[in-house]
């Protein structure tokens, strides 16, 4: 039997806010195949990030099942490389030491961790900044360092929560292309949150469209573009049609 990297079945979650119960997720079904790049788009505040904290094992769903590599029973922390919206680099660690953070948690010996971090930085063009402190880096660079930190911790399964949301358009495009390179090279399965339709189309194999809160899956679409992708593919007629379809779907869900 072929086994998905991630399988969510009927995942629901409510939060209590004072006396009110706030339904956040409503019976979400979702799957990510091995090596697949899947995006989640949805209106802001719809509960995408909550979904991530559940997959990362920081919260448990009220109902439903989350299985990573077919395993729904054991603890999920450590089984995915989770990257929150902010880069959250440690200001007292150099770029290299920041990339090593996950290995420190795993108690990998210092020297081995350092070798691996250097190799990764070299492969993805950041080696010249290895000894810099994050404060001296630009926004795009910080996001890339945070991504490498995530990859070094777990290169098999990445949970990326709007990693490029705060970047300007050009930096963003450069980072997207860089991410595609990285993804293809390490062969990871990726689940990617964004609320940028074009970003989702450019990067993904499949896109899940979520509704407004409480989030449920409105539609799942395959992206009909070949790999390797380039920015110019967004001008492709199929991409434009898909973009329009998704935008008109989302605009109905977006709260004012």
């Amino acid at each position: 039997m072929r086994q998905q990297k991630l399988l969510l079945q009927g995942v629901s979650k409510r939060f209590r806010q004072g006396r009110q119960e706030l339904a956040t997720l409503n019976a979400v079904d979702l799957e990510v195949e091995r090596g697949e790049f899947v995006s989640l788009i949805g209106p802001s505040g719809c509960g995408k990030s909550t979904l991530f904290t559940i997959i990362a094992g920081l919260e448990q769903p009220d109902t439903g099942e989350v299985a990573i590599d077919g395993d729904a029973r054991h603890q999920r922390t450590g089984k995915a490389g989770y990257m929150p919206q902010q880069p959250l680099l440690l200001p007292w660690r150099t770029v290299e030491e920041n990339v090593m953070l996950g290995l420190d948690v795993l108690r990998v010996p210092r020297q081995k961790a350092q070798e691996q971090a250097r190799e990764l930085l070299k492969r993805f063009g950041l080696i010249e900044f290895a000894q810099h402190y994050p404060a001296t880096l630009s926004g795009g660079m910080r996001q890339r360092v945070a991504l490498l930190r995530t990859v070094l911790f777990n290169s098999q399964f990445l949970l990326l929560d709007e990693p490029f949301g705060a970047l300007d358009a050009l930096t963003r495009l450069a980072c997207q292309m860089w991410l595609l390179d990285l993804w293809q090279e390490v062969g990871a399965s990726v689940l990617f949150i964004t609320h940028d339709v074009r970003e989702a189309i450019l990067l993904s194999d499949r896109i899940y469209v979520l509704s407004a809160r409480p989030a449920r899956v409105l539609r799942v679409v395959e992206v009909p573009l070949e790999r390797p992708r380039g920015a110019e593919m967004l001008g492709d007629a199929r991409a434009i049609a898909l973009e329009q379809e998704l935008v008109s779907l989302l605009i109905k869900e977006q709260p004012l």
Partner: protein, 264 residues
């Protein structure tokens, strides 16, 4: 480099020199009685004349101060971790910490003399009573200010509570810890002097007392000046240690204040 140094410390030096000059003039113009307020020149003379005795008395004071400060640092850090450990330890420990600061420490010094005699112990305890509190509170604040998302990230990696403390929270609390340590360092010499005031065999505190009794006012002032210099030296030392320990902190602050461009 030299110019910047001058621009930074120059104003304070000029002001201090001006105040000393006014003081000197006021005394020599007989605006005050030379017996009750010696002139800066007389104080400097007294310092030079009694240097060997003052030096001899400064050594025990400095020893008490440094030992007290070191123990306070360890105690303050331990208390901060304890305060931070859980809501319950915080609720239990914090009120007691505050109460410890409402005790008039000076009034406690004679008691210590009864308990411990003319040893070094009561002085070190007085220094600690002054010093552990700012260190504990500042460090606890620093620990509490860790970014919640960062803690989430570490938890998602499966980090244990102690790993989170060691990898993220303690290093992040170091700038706050040094702020506390700076305050403690400036208090510490005063603490040692207060401890010696009620009784000691040697030390700047007891030397001040005996000089006052023998009406050697220039010597008293000279001793006060040495005390102030010791405090200042400790303050500078803490700053130096901080710079060596937290190169990243100064690098990032410089990047912010000097408007240094980020790379690319």
């Amino acid at each position: 480099m030299k110019l910047r140094w001058l621009a930074y410390y120059g104003p304070a030096l000029v002001l201090a020199a001006a105040l000393l000059a006014i003081w000197e003039l006021a005394v020599s113009a007989n605006l005050t009685l030379a017996q009750s307020l010696p002139s800066p020149a007389a104080i400097a003379q007294a310092l030079a004349d009694n240097w060997d005795v003052i030096y001899d008395n400064a050594i025990p004071t400095l020893t008490e101060t440094v030992l007290g400060l070191l123990i306070s640092t360890a105690l303050g850090l331990a208390l901060a971790v304890l305060l931070d450990f859980s809501v319950w330890t915080r609720r239990a420990v914090y009120p007691l910490l505050i109460v410890s600061q409402t005790i008039p420490i000076v009034a406690l010094a004679p008691l210590m003399l009864i308990w411990f005699g003319f040893t070094i112990a009561p002085k070190i305890i007085v220094v600690m009573l002054y010093c552990f509190f700012p260190i504990a509170v500042a460090t606890a604040d620093g620990l509490a200010s860790a970014e919640p998302d960062l803690l989430k990230l570490l938890k998602s990696m499966g980090a244990s509570r102690w790993q989170i403390l060691w990898l993220v929270r303690l290093p992040g609390a170091l700038p706050a810890f040094f702020s506390g340590l700076r305050i403690a360092a400036t208090y510490s010499v005063t603490g040692a002097i207060a401890g010696e005031f009620v009784g000691a065999e040697k030390g700047l505190g007891i030397y001040m007392v005996t000089s006052t009794y023998s009406k050697a006012l220039p010597v008293v002032f000279a001793t006060i000046a040495v005390t102030a210099l010791l405090s200042l030296a400790l303050f500078v030392l803490v700053n130096l240690i901080e710079r060596l320990a937290l190169p990243w902190y100064h690098a990032s602050r410089a990047a912010l204040t000097m408007g240094q461009r980020p790379l690319r």
